[in-house]
């Protein structure tokens, strides 16, 4: 009995020793203050051909300390450090950047990826592919595109948040805080870029050089990884209606001097194929609030007229966007993808969806309901 007990004890001791063996090293144990928490990653083309330029932006320790205390940071110094690395691949860029930083450049907390629209498709693909393959890299950061210098866009000082990256994160993660919910996460972009029959898109950020204010009201369209063009703010509005992500769209109808605001609603896309011709129909069911009308008080007939009129206007906007995408030959709505899932055999018959997309017959049907009219009658 005693021997048995002793043996069991010895066994436990051996196990403890084995567990204790790793005490010689500490592997992944690096406290946060030993890591440079990269919040923003910028991807742009380097001055050299076929070279990638990556921007690693992380908050500086003094700025973080003052953030933790809740006090205002020193305004003369930038709260973030921008480290740039150039190279043929992400790893090369990373190494160049790491050489300039005293702490571990940590990619697990990336919140934002800024992509220059001037970046070539092959470089963008290579960069994103490498990032996707990196295990520690978080797959949920928001992405945006910008035609301006990436560094100038991600380092804009804002008085709304302590760090510019926090500004963008707050903006994109709150769908209802925006006119159109434009936030696209890394994995969503990757899924769209890699699925046949659909093209990815990204919100486009512009910074006013003089006032140093950010504007996020445009969409950048990509064909796979190639940037092909942007939608202007009004087109973006229609685009978001077609996508069903609009929240605070408004229109002014000069005829009745009426304003309709908070236009939002659901979209249903139906796709069918008949004798080689693809028909795509968008059904938009929109709700809106009457903000004001020239006659001050509205009648039922006026309301009916108003909703019909607004439906027509909105339908025209939407069609305009659809035509533009057909001209650019990008399918951000996933008409081809829908066709693939509904009629896989028919979709396979098209050799290249991009040859087909401009030929798709588009229909937009909009139903606007004015469901709120305010307190004045």
């Amino acid at each position: 009995m005693m021997r048995h007990k002793f043996r069991r004890f010895g066994w436990k001791l051996a196990m403890l020793c084995t567990l204790g063996l790793p005490l010689t090293g500490c592997w992944d144990n690096r406290p946060v203050d030993y890591r440079a928490l990269v919040f923003t990653l910028g991807l742009s083309a380097s001055s050299k051909p076929h070279e990638l330029s990556m921007l690693f932006q992380f908050p500086t320790p003094p700025a973080m300390a003052s953030y933790a205390k809740g006090s205002a940071s020193n305004t003369s110094q930038s709260p973030v450090a921008d480290i740039k690395g150039h190279g043929k691949s992400v790893a090369q860029c990373f190494d160049v950047a790491q050489a300039q930083v005293s702490r571990d450049l940590y990619l697990g907390q990336i919140q934002l990826i800024a992509v220059s629209t001037h970046l070539s498709s092959s470089l963008l693909f290579r960069a994103l592919d490498s990032l996707e393959r990196t295990g520690t890299f978080d797959k949920t950061p928001f992405m945006f595109a910008t035609p301006q210098s990436v560094q100038s866009v991600v380092s804009v000082k804002t008085n709304q948040d302590a760090f510019p990256s926090l500004y963008y994160v707050n903006l994109f993660s709150c769908g209802h805080c925006q006119t159109e919910s434009l936030g696209i996460r890394f994995w969503q972009f990757a899924a769209d870029a890699l699925t046949p029959g659909v093209d990815p898109y990204l919100p486009e950020v512009l910074v006013n050089k003089k006032s140093q204010k950010m504007m996020v009201s445009q969409e950048a369209l990509y064909r796979h990884f190639t940037y092909v063009g942007s939608l202007n703010p009004q087109e973006t509005m229609a685009f978001s209606l077609l996508k069903g992500v609009a929240h605070k769209v408004n229109i002014y109808l000069p005829h009745l001097q009426a304003t309709l605001r908070a236009i939002h609603g659901s979209t249903h896309l139906s796709v069918r194929e008949r004798r080689g011709q693809v028909y795509a129909t968008f059904h938009l069911n929109l709700m809106t609030t009457l903000e004001g009308i020239g006659t001050q008080t509205e009648t039922a007939a006026q309301l009916a007229h108003l909703s019909k009129l607004s439906s027509t206007v909105l339908a025209h906007w939407c069609l305009g966007v659809l035509e533009k995408t057909q001209k650019l030959d990008v399918d951000p709505f996933g008409i081809g993808r829908k066709l693939d899932w509904r009629y896989p055999q028919e979709f396979k018959r098209f050799k290249h969806w991009h040859n087909e997309y401009p030929k798709v017959h588009m229909t937009v049907s909009v139903k606007t309901r004015i469901n709120k009219m305010g307190d004045i009658k």
Partner: protein, 388 residues
Amino acid sequence: MSLGTSHRLPRISGLQFGTVVTAGYMAMGIFYFPRQLVSAAGRDGIWAFWLEGLVTFVLMRFIFMMNHLVPNETLGEFAPKIISKPVAFVLGIYTVTYHLALAVVAAVLFGFVLSDIFLPDTPGWAITGALVLTATYIASLGISSLARTLQAGYLPMVFLTLLTLILAMSMIRHPLLLEPPSNIRMIPILQGAYREYFLFIGFEVSVTLYPFIRNDQRVRGEHFAYLGLALTIFTGTIMYEATMASFGPSLIPILRWPIVSLMRILTISGFFVSKWGLLVVVLWTNAVVAFVAIRLWCLAHDLAALLHWHSRYSYPTLLMTGAVSVFIFALWIPNAKIADYITQNFVVPFGIAYLLSVSVIVTIVAHFRKPTLRRLRQKTETKPPTPG
């Protein structure tokens, strides 16, 4: 912890049997799931998955039928007396290898997931070593403790995973993909079902575990095993649907661990941990450790039956041997690609062959040797311990 037939006390209840059998296969293919299904069958993958479930149900019935032959002995113990010693020896070696291979593959797969996502700078031997060590400790405490640990730790984890998966439904981008496709193509479905079958391959623990159920609980045990299968299919279906409708059929085949990817993108705001899904992935350690522990337990018992070594030293010695082998073989596999290759080319075909052939052969042979069987059954009937 005695191994001798006459000393064995049937200790576990029906629910515990069901839990152990379910835990014996659920952790295995979960990380690859549903990649093989989708890459072979596309959107039809869900049919392939359900087909797998059905096949498993049928095979489980067969295995239980075989267990009914001599309910008080493990397959390794009664096989020599029915299908002759040399055949049984080969069968024993096969079974032991089977357990070893599954344990190694599970440990390796999870080790790769962990080292890829969570612990990139930690050496692989440390991750796998800690896993195997924990599993060995749990297995060393015996089957009743193992079963209780599963009940107390594994079941809550399964329910937490289910809840998280339901939460993951909020990330669905393409509700259209939720409905099972109607144009069924048989060949890709069969292909997908075959390749993904290592999801269910481990349920044969019941051949070793069956005699450990309390006599009055055996029927319940079988029912709970079926219930566990139903739960697995249900969970798998939700996993499949959530992954499919979030990523689409084109992205899934190129993801290494689709379900982990799905969990990684699940974030919740307003809590101390925003990457909730990742936390749940770490919790799956529970499932993998349980899986390896069950394998090690079976391995030690089957080895003891194979070597006819029944003493109080046999179980600890064989358990340690098994654990060390798992650890060494796990280190021997250098990357996920090779693990994949081994699974697809060896584990799946040999596993399916085992499941299909063993129960059928043993049952048929036993049919022709009824008197032997009857004698065997009477001889192995347990005597209840005298009270007091």
